[in-house]
Protein backbone atom coordinates (compact mmCIF):
# COMPACT_ATOMS: atom_id res chain seq x y z
CA UNK A 1 0.00 0.00 0.00
CA UNK A 2 1.21 3.49 -0.81
CA UNK A 3 -0.22 6.97 -1.38
CA UNK A 4 0.84 10.59 -1.89
CA UNK A 5 -0.30 13.22 0.58
CA UNK A 6 0.80 16.32 2.45
CA UNK A 7 2.53 15.68 5.74
CA UNK A 8 2.97 17.94 8.76
CA UNK A 9 3.81 21.51 7.82
CA UNK A 10 4.10 20.88 4.08
CA UNK A 11 2.24 23.66 2.23
CA UNK A 12 -1.17 22.62 0.89
CA UNK A 13 -1.20 25.50 -1.58
CA UNK A 14 -2.39 24.21 -4.98
CA UNK A 15 -3.10 20.76 -3.55
CA UNK A 16 -6.50 19.12 -3.98
CA UNK A 17 -6.73 16.22 -1.56
CA UNK A 18 -9.86 14.75 -3.19
CA UNK A 19 -8.49 14.56 -6.73
CA UNK A 20 -4.81 14.19 -5.85
CA UNK A 21 -3.89 17.08 -8.17
CA UNK A 22 -1.09 19.52 -7.34
CA UNK A 23 -1.16 22.82 -9.25
CA UNK A 24 2.20 24.65 -9.49
CA UNK A 25 3.19 27.78 -11.45
CA UNK A 26 6.17 27.32 -13.82
CA UNK A 27 9.43 27.65 -11.94
CA UNK A 28 7.86 27.08 -8.53
CA UNK A 29 8.14 24.04 -6.30
CA UNK A 30 5.75 22.02 -4.16
CA UNK A 31 6.44 19.53 -1.41
CA UNK A 32 4.67 16.16 -1.26
CA UNK A 33 5.10 13.00 0.78
CA UNK A 34 4.73 9.33 -0.02
CA UNK A 35 3.40 6.86 2.50
CA UNK A 36 4.30 3.19 2.29
CA UNK A 37 6.41 0.97 0.07
CA UNK A 38 6.30 -2.22 -1.92
CA UNK A 39 4.58 -5.44 -0.84
CA UNK A 40 5.55 -7.64 2.11
CA UNK A 41 7.83 -9.22 3.02
CA UNK A 42 10.61 -6.90 1.82
CA UNK A 43 8.64 -3.61 1.44
CA UNK A 44 10.93 -2.41 -1.36
CA UNK A 45 11.56 1.30 -1.70
CA UNK A 46 9.37 2.62 -4.52
CA UNK A 47 10.84 4.61 -7.42
CA UNK A 48 9.17 8.00 -7.86
CA UNK A 49 9.27 9.94 -11.12
CA UNK A 50 7.20 12.11 -13.46
CA UNK A 51 5.59 10.38 -16.44
CA UNK A 52 6.41 13.46 -18.57
CA UNK A 53 9.77 14.72 -17.26
CA UNK A 54 9.60 17.80 -19.50
CA UNK A 55 6.67 19.11 -17.41
CA UNK A 56 8.12 18.70 -13.94
CA UNK A 57 10.81 16.84 -12.06
CA UNK A 58 10.60 15.27 -8.61
CA UNK A 59 13.41 14.72 -6.11
CA UNK A 60 13.47 13.02 -2.74
CA UNK A 61 14.19 15.41 0.12
CA UNK A 62 14.71 13.88 3.58
CA UNK A 63 11.98 14.67 6.10
CA UNK A 64 13.20 16.55 9.18
CA UNK A 65 12.54 14.93 11.56
CA UNK A 66 12.08 11.53 9.88
CA UNK A 67 8.57 10.06 10.06
CA UNK A 68 8.17 6.28 10.02
CA UNK A 69 6.88 4.93 6.66
CA UNK A 70 6.89 8.40 5.05
CA UNK A 71 9.30 9.89 2.49
CA UNK A 72 9.50 13.55 1.49
CA UNK A 73 9.72 14.87 -2.08
CA UNK A 74 9.95 18.21 -3.85
CA UNK A 75 8.36 18.80 -7.26
CA UNK A 76 9.89 21.45 -9.54
CA UNK A 77 7.64 22.78 -12.33
CA UNK A 78 9.51 23.17 -15.64
CA UNK A 79 6.90 24.13 -18.25
CA UNK A 80 3.13 24.44 -18.70
CA UNK A 81 1.27 21.13 -18.94
CA UNK A 82 0.00 18.11 -17.02
CA UNK A 83 1.71 14.93 -15.95
CA UNK A 84 1.29 12.01 -13.64
CA UNK A 85 3.74 11.32 -10.81
CA UNK A 86 4.18 7.60 -10.30
CA UNK A 87 5.60 5.50 -7.49
CA UNK A 88 6.52 2.14 -9.01
CA UNK A 89 8.06 -1.06 -7.79
CA UNK A 90 11.71 -1.14 -9.01
CA UNK A 91 12.13 -3.25 -12.13
CA UNK A 92 8.40 -3.23 -12.92
CA UNK A 93 5.77 -0.86 -14.31
CA UNK A 94 3.41 -1.55 -11.40
CA UNK A 95 2.11 1.76 -10.04
CA UNK A 96 1.73 1.65 -6.28
CA UNK A 97 0.75 5.29 -5.92
CA UNK A 98 0.00 8.12 -8.35
CA UNK A 99 -0.83 11.82 -8.28
CA UNK A 100 -1.28 14.51 -10.94
CA UNK A 101 0.70 17.71 -11.44
CA UNK A 102 -0.84 20.67 -13.26
CA UNK A 103 1.79 23.27 -14.23
CA UNK A 104 0.46 26.72 -15.06
CA UNK A 105 1.75 30.05 -16.36
CA UNK A 106 5.04 30.96 -17.99
CA UNK A 107 8.53 32.04 -17.00
CA UNK A 108 11.72 33.43 -18.44
CA UNK A 109 14.59 30.99 -18.82
CA UNK A 110 16.14 29.79 -15.56
CA UNK A 111 18.44 26.87 -14.86
CA UNK A 112 18.11 24.67 -11.77
CA UNK A 113 20.95 22.31 -10.89
CA UNK A 114 20.42 19.32 -8.60
CA UNK A 115 24.04 18.21 -7.90
CA UNK A 116 23.35 15.18 -5.70
CA UNK A 117 20.91 13.17 -7.78
CA UNK A 118 22.81 9.90 -7.96
CA UNK A 119 26.12 8.12 -7.39
CA UNK A 120 27.61 6.35 -10.42
CA UNK A 121 31.01 4.63 -10.32
CA UNK A 122 32.20 6.82 -7.48
CA UNK A 123 31.02 10.09 -9.07
CA UNK A 124 28.12 12.12 -7.68
CA UNK A 125 26.16 13.16 -10.74
CA UNK A 126 23.40 15.68 -11.16
CA UNK A 127 21.24 17.36 -13.75
CA UNK A 128 20.57 20.92 -14.86
CA UNK A 129 16.86 21.45 -15.61
CA UNK A 130 15.65 24.25 -17.86
CA UNK A 131 12.69 26.22 -16.54
CA UNK A 132 10.79 28.28 -19.07
CA UNK A 133 12.24 26.36 -21.99
CA UNK A 134 11.04 23.15 -23.56
CA UNK A 135 11.59 21.03 -20.47
CA UNK A 136 15.15 20.06 -21.44
CA UNK A 137 17.66 18.73 -18.97
CA UNK A 138 21.44 18.32 -19.16
CA UNK A 139 23.95 16.14 -17.32
CA UNK A 140 26.29 17.92 -14.92
CA UNK A 141 28.65 17.20 -12.03
CA UNK A 142 29.18 19.64 -9.19
CA UNK A 143 31.85 19.79 -6.53
CA UNK A 144 32.87 16.76 -4.51
CA UNK A 145 30.02 15.85 -2.15
CA UNK A 146 32.44 15.96 0.78
CA UNK A 147 35.26 18.48 1.10
CA UNK A 148 38.91 17.49 1.11
CA UNK A 149 42.28 19.16 0.82
CA UNK A 150 43.69 18.97 -2.70
CA UNK A 151 47.04 19.85 -4.25
CA UNK A 152 48.38 23.34 -4.85
CA UNK A 153 46.52 24.86 -1.89
CA UNK A 154 43.15 23.98 -3.37
CA UNK A 155 40.23 22.32 -1.64
CA UNK A 156 37.51 20.29 -3.28
CA UNK A 157 34.10 21.12 -1.86
CA UNK A 158 30.40 20.77 -2.65
CA UNK A 159 28.98 23.48 -4.92
CA UNK A 160 27.26 25.84 -2.46
CA UNK A 161 23.47 25.83 -2.83
CA UNK A 162 21.82 29.14 -3.64
CA UNK A 163 20.82 31.55 -6.37
CA UNK A 164 23.41 32.76 -8.87
CA UNK A 165 23.46 34.60 -12.19
CA UNK A 166 25.64 33.51 -15.11
CA UNK A 167 28.44 35.85 -16.10
CA UNK A 168 29.52 36.23 -19.75
CA UNK A 169 31.10 33.39 -21.72
CA UNK A 170 34.89 33.60 -21.84
CA UNK A 171 38.13 31.62 -21.88
CA UNK A 172 38.88 31.27 -18.16
CA UNK A 173 42.48 32.05 -17.20
CA UNK A 174 43.85 31.69 -13.69
CA UNK A 175 47.34 31.23 -12.33
CA UNK A 176 46.00 29.12 -9.45
CA UNK A 177 46.11 26.05 -11.73
CA UNK A 178 49.28 25.83 -13.87
CA UNK A 179 47.51 24.47 -16.95
CA UNK A 180 44.92 27.27 -16.74
CA UNK A 181 47.44 30.10 -16.95
CA UNK A 182 47.05 29.92 -20.75
CA UNK A 183 43.64 30.37 -22.40
CA UNK A 184 42.08 27.38 -24.13
CA UNK A 185 42.72 27.52 -27.86
CA UNK A 186 45.78 29.79 -27.63
CA UNK A 187 48.38 29.37 -30.40
CA UNK A 188 51.82 28.12 -29.37
CA UNK A 189 55.25 28.66 -30.91
CA UNK A 190 58.92 28.29 -30.01
CA UNK A 191 60.74 31.63 -30.02
CA UNK A 192 64.32 32.33 -31.08
CA UNK A 193 65.55 31.66 -27.54
CA UNK A 194 63.97 28.21 -27.63
CA UNK A 195 61.19 29.07 -25.17
CA UNK A 196 57.50 28.44 -25.76
CA UNK A 197 55.22 31.42 -26.30
CA UNK A 198 51.44 31.58 -26.53
CA UNK A 199 49.01 34.04 -28.04
CA UNK A 200 45.59 34.35 -26.44
CA UNK A 201 42.50 36.28 -27.43
CA UNK A 202 43.68 39.85 -27.19
CA UNK A 203 47.27 40.11 -26.09
CA UNK A 204 50.45 39.59 -28.10
CA UNK A 205 52.81 36.67 -27.71
CA UNK A 206 53.66 35.84 -24.09
CA UNK A 207 56.19 33.49 -22.54
CA UNK A 208 54.86 30.16 -21.28
CA UNK A 209 58.11 28.38 -20.38
CA UNK A 210 61.46 29.44 -18.96
CA UNK A 211 62.22 31.43 -15.84
CA UNK A 212 59.63 34.13 -16.65
CA UNK A 213 57.04 31.92 -18.31
CA UNK A 214 53.49 32.14 -16.95
CA UNK A 215 53.23 28.36 -16.58
CA UNK A 216 56.57 28.19 -14.77
CA UNK A 217 55.47 30.89 -12.35
CA UNK A 218 52.10 29.24 -11.79
CA UNK A 219 53.79 25.86 -11.22
CA UNK A 220 56.22 27.36 -8.70
CA UNK A 221 53.35 28.97 -6.78
CA UNK A 222 51.32 25.74 -6.97
CA UNK A 223 54.12 23.80 -5.30
CA UNK A 224 54.86 26.54 -2.77
CA UNK A 225 51.24 26.44 -1.64
CA UNK A 226 51.83 22.77 -0.89
CA UNK A 227 54.47 23.85 1.59
CA UNK A 228 57.47 22.75 -0.45
CA UNK A 229 60.39 24.80 -1.73
CA UNK A 230 60.58 23.87 -5.39
CA UNK A 231 63.85 23.99 -7.28
CA UNK A 232 63.41 26.54 -10.07
CA UNK A 233 65.61 24.64 -12.53
CA UNK A 234 63.60 21.45 -11.96
CA UNK A 235 60.29 23.25 -12.43
CA UNK A 236 61.57 24.96 -15.59
CA UNK A 237 62.50 21.54 -17.00
CA UNK A 238 59.18 19.98 -15.97
CA UNK A 239 57.17 22.80 -17.54
CA UNK A 240 59.23 22.63 -20.73
CA UNK A 241 58.38 18.93 -21.02
CA UNK A 242 54.68 19.75 -20.97
CA UNK A 243 55.10 21.60 -24.26
CA UNK A 244 58.18 20.16 -25.95
CA UNK A 245 59.08 16.55 -26.66
CA UNK A 246 62.65 16.34 -25.29
CA UNK A 247 63.61 13.69 -27.82
CA UNK A 248 62.78 15.83 -30.84
CA UNK A 249 62.81 19.40 -29.53
CA UNK A 250 59.46 19.94 -31.27
CA UNK A 251 56.20 21.24 -29.81
CA UNK A 252 53.90 18.40 -28.74
CA UNK A 253 50.96 20.52 -30.02
CA UNK A 254 50.53 23.94 -31.55
CA UNK A 255 47.22 24.84 -29.88
CA UNK A 256 46.74 24.88 -26.11
CA UNK A 257 43.85 22.61 -25.15
CA UNK A 258 44.84 21.73 -21.58
CA UNK A 259 43.20 24.63 -19.76
CA UNK A 260 41.38 23.06 -16.78
CA UNK A 261 38.20 25.02 -17.55
CA UNK A 262 37.77 23.68 -21.07
CA UNK A 263 36.91 25.89 -24.01
CA UNK A 264 34.42 28.21 -22.30
CA UNK A 265 33.48 29.17 -18.77
CA UNK A 266 30.66 31.18 -17.17
CA UNK A 267 31.17 32.56 -13.69
CA UNK A 268 28.43 31.93 -11.14
CA UNK A 269 27.86 35.46 -9.86
CA UNK A 270 26.16 36.08 -6.53
CA UNK A 271 24.63 39.42 -5.57
CA UNK A 272 26.35 40.95 -8.57
CA UNK A 273 29.80 39.75 -7.49
CA UNK A 274 31.94 37.03 -9.06
CA UNK A 275 32.47 33.83 -7.06
CA UNK A 276 35.11 31.12 -7.24
CA UNK A 277 32.67 28.88 -9.12
CA UNK A 278 32.22 28.44 -12.86
CA UNK A 279 30.09 26.42 -15.24
CA UNK A 280 32.54 24.79 -17.64
CA UNK A 281 33.78 21.61 -19.33
CA UNK A 282 37.14 19.89 -18.82
CA UNK A 283 40.01 19.50 -21.31
CA UNK A 284 39.74 15.71 -21.27
CA UNK A 285 36.03 15.81 -21.99
CA UNK A 286 36.71 18.29 -24.82
CA UNK A 287 39.32 15.94 -26.28
CA UNK A 288 37.18 12.83 -25.87
CA UNK A 289 34.27 14.60 -27.54
CA UNK A 290 36.49 15.61 -30.46
CA UNK A 291 37.68 12.00 -30.78
CA UNK A 292 34.12 10.62 -30.51
CA UNK A 293 35.07 8.78 -27.29
CA UNK A 294 32.75 8.36 -24.32
CA UNK A 295 32.61 11.32 -21.93
CA UNK A 296 32.62 10.71 -18.17
CA UNK A 297 31.79 13.68 -15.99
CA UNK A 298 33.89 14.04 -12.83
CA UNK A 299 33.24 15.93 -9.63
CA UNK A 300 34.97 19.29 -9.44
CA UNK A 301 36.41 21.53 -6.73
CA UNK A 302 33.06 23.36 -6.56
CA UNK A 303 32.43 24.30 -10.19
CA UNK A 304 29.74 22.76 -12.39
CA UNK A 305 31.08 20.42 -15.08
CA UNK A 306 29.16 20.02 -18.34
CA UNK A 307 29.56 17.68 -21.31
CA UNK A 308 30.99 19.64 -24.28
CA UNK A 309 28.25 18.54 -26.70
CA UNK A 310 25.53 19.53 -24.23
CA UNK A 311 27.35 22.82 -23.51
CA UNK A 312 27.14 23.60 -27.24
CA UNK A 313 23.45 22.66 -27.27
CA UNK A 314 22.79 24.94 -24.29
CA UNK A 315 24.61 27.82 -25.97
CA UNK A 316 22.63 27.33 -29.18
CA UNK A 317 19.36 27.31 -27.21
CA UNK A 318 20.26 30.54 -25.42
CA UNK A 319 20.40 28.89 -21.99
CA UNK A 320 24.08 29.53 -21.29
CA UNK A 321 24.51 33.29 -21.49
CA UNK A 322 25.15 36.26 -19.25
CA UNK A 323 22.27 37.17 -16.99
CA UNK A 324 20.53 33.76 -16.87
CA UNK A 325 19.47 32.74 -13.34
CA UNK A 326 21.22 29.61 -12.11
CA UNK A 327 20.00 27.93 -8.94
CA UNK A 328 22.01 25.24 -7.13
CA UNK A 329 19.94 22.91 -4.97
CA UNK A 330 21.24 21.04 -1.91
CA UNK A 331 23.03 17.70 -2.37
CA UNK A 332 20.53 15.81 -0.22
CA UNK A 333 17.78 16.22 -2.84
CA UNK A 334 18.20 12.98 -4.76
CA UNK A 335 16.73 11.08 -7.68
CA UNK A 336 14.71 10.76 -9.89
CA UNK A 337 15.70 7.21 -10.93
Amino acid sequence: MANFDKLGKQSKRGWDTKTGIQAIPVGQTAEISLFGGGPAPDYKVLEVSAEKPAICTIHERPLHPPVTNWRGFIITALQKGDTKIRAILPGTTNEWATMQVHVTGASGVRLVFFPGERLASGTTLGTIYVIGGKGEHFSAAGGAPVGYKDRGGHTAEPTPPGHYTLGPKYHVVTSSWPMSSIPFGASLRINAAGEVEFQGDSSGWQLATGRNGVVTKAQMAFKQRDGVKPDLATVIAQVRNIFIDPATGNLRFTTWEKNDFGRWGWNLRRNGQPTAYFVHTTPDDERNTALARAVFLANSHGCVHLKPAERDQMIASGYLKAGVDFEVRPYDETGPP
Partner: protein, 258 residues
Amino acid sequence: MRLLAVSLLLLVQFAATDAHGVDCDASARAVTQDLRDAADVANQAGAFRSAFEAGREALLTCPQAEPLWYAVVRTAELGFGTFPVSLGGADAADPVDAARHAADRNPKSARIVTVLARLTGTVAAAREAVALDPSYAPARTALAAALVHAGQPDQALALLAAGPDIEAAPGTRTMRAQALLAAGRAGDAVNEARRDLNANWPNAPEPFLIMSVRRDAEETLGLALLADRRAGEAVPHLRAAAGLGSQTAATALKDIKR
Protein backbone atom coordinates in the same frame (compact mmCIF):
# COMPACT_ATOMS: atom_id res chain seq x y z
CA MET B 1 83.85 3.36 -37.89
CA ARG B 2 81.30 5.25 -39.95
CA LEU B 3 79.66 1.96 -40.92
CA LEU B 4 79.44 1.01 -37.27
CA ALA B 5 77.81 4.32 -36.41
CA VAL B 6 75.24 3.93 -39.20
CA SER B 7 74.56 0.36 -38.11
CA LEU B 8 74.03 1.46 -34.52
CA LEU B 9 71.71 4.24 -35.65
CA LEU B 10 69.66 1.78 -37.68
CA LEU B 11 69.54 -0.60 -34.74
CA VAL B 12 68.26 2.15 -32.44
CA GLN B 13 65.64 3.15 -34.99
CA PHE B 14 64.57 -0.46 -35.44
CA ALA B 15 64.24 -0.92 -31.70
CA ALA B 16 62.10 2.19 -31.35
CA THR B 17 59.65 1.36 -34.11
CA ASP B 18 57.25 -1.50 -34.52
CA ALA B 19 56.50 -3.61 -37.60
CA HIS B 20 54.17 -0.88 -38.93
CA GLY B 21 56.84 1.79 -38.68
CA VAL B 22 55.16 3.44 -35.70
CA ASP B 23 57.50 5.34 -33.39
CA CYS B 24 56.77 3.48 -30.16
CA ASP B 25 59.21 5.59 -28.14
CA ALA B 26 57.29 8.71 -29.14
CA SER B 27 53.99 7.07 -28.14
CA ALA B 28 55.49 6.05 -24.81
CA ARG B 29 56.86 9.54 -24.17
CA ALA B 30 53.49 11.13 -24.94
CA VAL B 31 51.55 8.81 -22.64
CA THR B 32 54.14 9.14 -19.89
CA GLN B 33 53.83 12.93 -20.11
CA ASP B 34 50.04 12.64 -19.87
CA LEU B 35 50.50 10.69 -16.63
CA ARG B 36 52.94 13.31 -15.28
CA ASP B 37 50.57 16.15 -16.18
CA ALA B 38 47.88 14.49 -14.04
CA ALA B 39 49.78 15.61 -10.94
CA ASP B 40 48.99 19.27 -11.62
CA VAL B 41 45.61 19.29 -13.36
CA ALA B 42 42.31 20.10 -11.67
CA ASN B 43 40.46 17.10 -13.06
CA GLN B 44 42.71 14.15 -12.22
CA ALA B 45 39.99 11.63 -12.99
CA GLY B 46 39.70 12.91 -16.54
CA ALA B 47 43.46 12.96 -17.00
CA PHE B 48 43.82 9.36 -15.83
CA ARG B 49 40.94 8.20 -17.98
CA SER B 50 42.54 9.88 -21.00
CA ALA B 51 45.91 8.30 -20.20
CA PHE B 52 44.26 4.87 -20.04
CA GLU B 53 42.65 5.40 -23.45
CA ALA B 54 45.83 6.80 -25.00
CA GLY B 55 47.84 3.88 -23.61
CA ARG B 56 45.30 1.33 -24.79
CA GLU B 57 45.27 2.78 -28.30
CA ALA B 58 49.08 2.95 -28.48
CA LEU B 59 49.37 -0.69 -27.34
CA LEU B 60 47.58 -1.71 -30.53
CA THR B 61 50.71 -0.87 -32.50
CA CYS B 62 53.32 -1.05 -29.73
CA PRO B 63 52.42 -4.13 -27.67
CA GLN B 64 55.89 -4.43 -26.13
CA ALA B 65 56.20 -0.90 -24.72
CA GLU B 66 56.52 -1.05 -20.93
CA PRO B 67 55.53 2.63 -20.35
CA LEU B 68 52.27 2.05 -22.20
CA TRP B 69 51.46 -1.07 -20.18
CA TYR B 70 52.30 0.77 -16.96
CA ALA B 71 50.08 3.73 -17.89
CA VAL B 72 47.19 1.39 -18.65
CA VAL B 73 47.43 -0.78 -15.54
CA ARG B 74 48.14 2.06 -13.10
CA THR B 75 45.17 4.10 -14.34
CA ALA B 76 43.02 0.96 -14.32
CA GLU B 77 44.11 0.31 -10.73
CA LEU B 78 43.02 3.84 -9.85
CA GLY B 79 39.58 3.04 -11.28
CA PHE B 80 39.76 4.68 -14.70
CA GLY B 81 39.85 1.75 -17.10
CA THR B 82 36.98 0.48 -19.17
CA PHE B 83 36.58 -3.30 -19.10
CA PRO B 84 36.47 -5.78 -20.72
CA VAL B 85 39.11 -4.50 -23.13
CA SER B 86 41.70 -5.75 -25.60
CA LEU B 87 45.23 -4.71 -24.61
CA GLY B 88 48.14 -5.31 -26.92
CA GLY B 89 46.39 -8.30 -28.46
CA ALA B 90 45.26 -9.83 -25.15
CA ASP B 91 41.74 -9.74 -23.73
CA ALA B 92 41.47 -8.33 -20.21
CA ALA B 93 38.27 -8.82 -18.22
CA ASP B 94 39.25 -6.48 -15.38
CA PRO B 95 42.22 -4.55 -13.95
CA VAL B 96 43.73 -7.70 -12.38
CA ASP B 97 43.62 -9.44 -15.73
CA ALA B 98 45.20 -6.39 -17.38
CA ALA B 99 47.99 -6.30 -14.79
CA ARG B 100 48.65 -10.03 -15.31
CA HIS B 101 49.06 -9.48 -19.05
CA ALA B 102 51.28 -6.46 -18.38
CA ALA B 103 53.48 -8.44 -15.97
CA ASP B 104 53.70 -11.37 -18.41
CA ARG B 105 55.01 -8.99 -21.10
CA ASN B 106 57.22 -7.03 -18.68
CA PRO B 107 58.37 -9.46 -15.98
CA LYS B 108 61.29 -7.24 -14.95
CA SER B 109 59.19 -4.10 -14.44
CA ALA B 110 59.00 -3.50 -10.68
CA ARG B 111 56.29 -0.87 -11.08
CA ILE B 112 54.03 -3.15 -13.12
CA VAL B 113 54.57 -6.12 -10.81
CA THR B 114 53.83 -3.76 -7.89
CA VAL B 115 50.48 -2.82 -9.42
CA LEU B 116 49.70 -6.52 -9.88
CA ALA B 117 50.70 -7.18 -6.26
CA ARG B 118 48.38 -4.46 -4.96
CA LEU B 119 45.50 -5.66 -7.09
CA THR B 120 45.85 -9.29 -5.99
CA GLY B 121 46.83 -8.41 -2.42
CA THR B 122 49.06 -11.44 -1.95
CA VAL B 123 52.30 -11.44 0.01
CA ALA B 124 54.02 -13.60 -2.62
CA ALA B 125 53.29 -11.16 -5.44
CA ALA B 126 54.45 -8.22 -3.34
CA ARG B 127 57.68 -10.02 -2.41
CA GLU B 128 58.29 -10.55 -6.12
CA ALA B 129 57.91 -6.80 -6.73
CA VAL B 130 60.31 -5.95 -3.91
CA ALA B 131 62.83 -8.48 -5.22
CA LEU B 132 62.80 -6.78 -8.62
CA ASP B 133 63.71 -3.39 -7.11
CA PRO B 134 64.16 -3.17 -3.34
CA SER B 135 64.62 0.61 -3.63
CA TYR B 136 61.16 1.13 -5.18
CA ALA B 137 59.08 2.40 -2.24
CA PRO B 138 55.64 1.46 -3.70
CA ALA B 139 56.78 -2.18 -3.86
CA ARG B 140 57.66 -2.12 -0.17
CA THR B 141 54.37 -0.43 0.77
CA ALA B 142 52.52 -3.02 -1.33
CA LEU B 143 54.25 -5.75 0.68
CA ALA B 144 53.38 -3.98 3.92
CA ALA B 145 49.71 -3.80 2.91
CA ALA B 146 49.70 -7.50 2.02
CA LEU B 147 51.31 -8.35 5.36
CA VAL B 148 48.65 -6.39 7.26
CA HIS B 149 46.00 -8.28 5.32
CA ALA B 150 47.77 -11.55 6.17
CA GLY B 151 47.75 -10.75 9.89
CA GLN B 152 51.41 -9.79 10.23
CA PRO B 153 51.21 -6.10 11.20
CA ASP B 154 54.55 -6.02 13.03
CA GLN B 155 56.42 -7.04 9.88
CA ALA B 156 54.46 -4.43 7.98
CA LEU B 157 55.41 -1.71 10.46
CA ALA B 158 59.07 -2.62 10.07
CA LEU B 159 58.77 -2.15 6.31
CA LEU B 160 56.98 1.16 6.77
CA ALA B 161 59.64 2.64 9.07
CA ALA B 162 59.95 6.33 8.27
CA GLY B 163 62.46 7.33 5.61
CA PRO B 164 62.47 9.88 2.80
CA ASP B 165 61.43 7.42 0.10
CA ILE B 166 58.67 5.87 2.19
CA GLU B 167 57.34 9.28 3.26
CA ALA B 168 57.29 10.42 -0.39
CA ALA B 169 54.82 7.65 -1.26
CA PRO B 170 51.19 8.82 -0.90
CA GLY B 171 49.12 7.20 1.83
CA THR B 172 52.00 5.56 3.71
CA ARG B 173 50.88 6.99 7.03
CA THR B 174 47.39 5.63 6.46
CA MET B 175 48.91 2.24 5.80
CA ARG B 176 50.99 2.55 8.96
CA ALA B 177 47.80 3.41 10.83
CA GLN B 178 46.14 0.28 9.43
CA ALA B 179 49.08 -1.81 10.64
CA LEU B 180 48.91 -0.18 14.08
CA LEU B 181 45.19 -0.83 14.20
CA ALA B 182 45.74 -4.47 13.27
CA ALA B 183 48.37 -4.67 16.04
CA GLY B 184 45.82 -3.43 18.55
CA ARG B 185 47.39 0.02 18.96
CA ALA B 186 44.28 2.11 18.18
CA GLY B 187 45.51 5.29 19.87
CA ASP B 188 48.72 5.32 17.84
CA ALA B 189 46.71 4.52 14.70
CA VAL B 190 44.54 7.61 15.28
CA ASN B 191 47.59 9.88 15.47
CA GLU B 192 49.14 8.37 12.37
CA ALA B 193 45.97 8.41 10.24
CA ARG B 194 45.33 12.09 10.97
CA ARG B 195 48.58 13.05 9.26
CA ASP B 196 47.42 11.98 5.79
CA LEU B 197 44.35 14.23 5.91
CA ASN B 198 46.53 17.25 5.11
CA ALA B 199 49.81 15.84 3.79
CA ASN B 200 51.23 16.55 0.32
CA TRP B 201 53.40 14.34 -1.86
CA PRO B 202 55.18 16.61 -4.37
CA ASN B 203 57.77 13.93 -5.19
CA ALA B 204 55.49 10.90 -5.34
CA PRO B 205 57.14 7.89 -7.00
CA GLU B 206 53.98 7.02 -8.95
CA PRO B 207 50.84 8.78 -10.21
CA PHE B 208 48.13 8.94 -7.57
CA LEU B 209 44.59 10.21 -7.12
CA ILE B 210 44.49 12.63 -4.19
CA MET B 211 40.77 12.05 -3.58
CA SER B 212 41.21 8.33 -2.91
CA VAL B 213 44.21 8.95 -0.63
CA ARG B 214 42.12 11.37 1.46
CA ARG B 215 39.16 8.95 1.43
CA ASP B 216 41.32 6.10 2.73
CA ALA B 217 42.80 8.39 5.39
CA GLU B 218 39.32 9.43 6.56
CA GLU B 219 38.14 5.81 6.59
CA THR B 220 41.16 4.56 8.55
CA LEU B 221 40.94 7.44 11.01
CA GLY B 222 37.24 6.74 11.56
CA LEU B 223 37.86 3.03 12.14
CA ALA B 224 40.79 3.77 14.45
CA LEU B 225 38.64 6.15 16.50
CA LEU B 226 35.91 3.52 16.71
CA ALA B 227 38.44 0.96 17.92
CA ASP B 228 39.62 3.53 20.46
CA ARG B 229 36.00 3.77 21.72
CA ARG B 230 35.55 7.32 20.42
CA ALA B 231 32.48 6.77 18.27
CA GLY B 232 31.37 10.40 18.46
CA GLU B 233 34.66 11.55 16.96
CA ALA B 234 34.64 8.71 14.43
CA VAL B 235 31.30 9.58 12.82
CA PRO B 236 32.34 12.74 10.89
CA HIS B 237 35.39 10.96 9.48
CA LEU B 238 33.37 7.90 8.48
CA ARG B 239 30.77 10.19 6.91
CA ALA B 240 33.50 11.97 4.96
CA ALA B 241 34.94 8.64 3.77
CA ALA B 242 31.49 7.33 2.83
CA GLY B 243 30.79 10.56 0.94
CA LEU B 244 33.95 9.98 -1.07
CA GLY B 245 32.86 6.43 -1.91
CA SER B 246 34.03 4.17 0.95
CA GLN B 247 31.69 1.20 1.39
CA THR B 248 33.57 0.14 4.53
CA ALA B 249 32.84 3.51 6.13
CA ALA B 250 29.19 3.37 5.05
CA THR B 251 28.83 -0.06 6.66
CA ALA B 252 30.54 1.12 9.86
CA LEU B 253 28.12 4.05 10.06
CA LYS B 254 25.14 1.71 9.74
CA ASP B 255 26.56 -0.48 12.50
CA ILE B 256 26.93 2.57 14.77
CA LYS B 257 23.26 3.51 14.20
CA ARG B 258 22.21 0.00 15.23
